[in-house]
């Protein structure tokens, strides 16, 4: 087995993820590109674990499992933030997110105010 093959696949996947994060305007598509980058990191971890005899057994694979759990948590919180953004702006285009004004500015183009409970 030649370890350069999965390593280069991981490098290509990471580059694709970086490209997607920088280029995509839709927040959901940006999350998908982040998943590609996390998968590239996992592939490096598993390949290193499969080709290097480490002191502790299966460390790379355990780290890959941890990264999978972190990715699941990240997608959950990211989905909540994206939905809140959509609720406030009626759009998930990242270029239209205001950076500096206060939270009151978000209410100006909201179609109808949220019913206060």
């Amino acid at each position: 087995m030649r370890p350069v093959i999965p390593y280069c696949v991981a490098a290509a996947l990471f580059g694709l993820g970086v490209y997607g994060v920088l280029v995509r305007r839709n927040a959901v598509l940006l999350l998908m590109a982040v998943e590609l980058m996390l998968n590239a990191v996992n592939l490096v971890l598993v390949t290193a674990d499969a080709t290097v005899r480490a002191v502790l057994p299966a460390t790379g694979q355990v780290f890959a499992l941890f990264v999978v759990v972190l990715a699941a948590a990240e997608v959950g919180v990211g989905l909540a933030i994206v939905l809140q953004l959509y609720r406030a702006r009626r759009s998930v285009a990242l270029d239209e997110v205001p950076l500096d004004p206060g939270p009151m500015d978000w209410d100006t183009d909201r179609p109808e105010p949220e019913p206060a409970r």
Binding site: R2, P3, G17, G20, L22, V28, L31, A58, V69, V92
Partner: protein
């Protein structure tokens, strides 16, 4: 070139091609479906590397849960169903940085390994017994910390997505 190498080359080509479709397609829903193909191909590479547990966890959590969450996000944000041209910014800076990252990392790996072969093949032990022993002996503390992190992420997601918590009258 052995059979494992051929399998990994083929699956790697599938993964990279599907990843290019994820970041390149003009349909939002198709990007999610191509992500399934890319993640499945990466799971196949895990299997070829002997990491069975990681491969099936990848299928369960990534393909089963994360992609479904992303498709839910696509539906709930009422993404355009057909092709849309305004999904991308100008491509050249992103292509420059992404291509630079891929080429740099690839050059690093190629320079480090140079088509060498790992003697003795894949290190055995990606089964459930090995992984379970490793998780519950050496990595018990990170495992428990991760469970707390998952709980806090769950609570945080609920708090963020509820409009009536902390918006104007609450703690904010």
């Amino acid at each position: 070139m052995t059979g494992v190498d051929a399998v990994m080359l083929a699956l790697g080509a599938v993964a990279v091609g599907a990843g290019a479709m994820v970041v390149g397609t003009r349909h939002v829903v198709r990007a999610g479906l191509w992500l399934v193909v890319a993640l499945g191909a990466v799971a196949g590479i895990y299997l070829a590397l002997g990491a069975e547990v990681v491969a099936w966890v990848q299928v369960l959590i990534y393909v089963g849960a994360v992609v479904v969450l992303l498709l839910f996000a696509v539906m709930l944000t009422r993404a355009p169903i057909g092709a849309s041209d305004d999904l991308d910014r100008s491509r050249w800076p992103g292509a420059l940085v992404g291509g630079g990252a891929a080429l740099g990392l690839g050059a690093l790996f190629v320079d480090a390994y140079r088509w060498t072969r790992v003697s003795g093949g894949v290190v055995p032990g990606g089964g459930a017994d090995t992984i379970g022993t490793a998780v519950f002996t050496d990595w018990v503390l990170p495992f428990e910390v991760l469970s707390v992190l998952l709980l806090s992420a769950l609570v945080g997601a609920i708090v963020v997505s509820r409009p009536d918590v902390g918006a104007r009258d609450g703690g904010a």
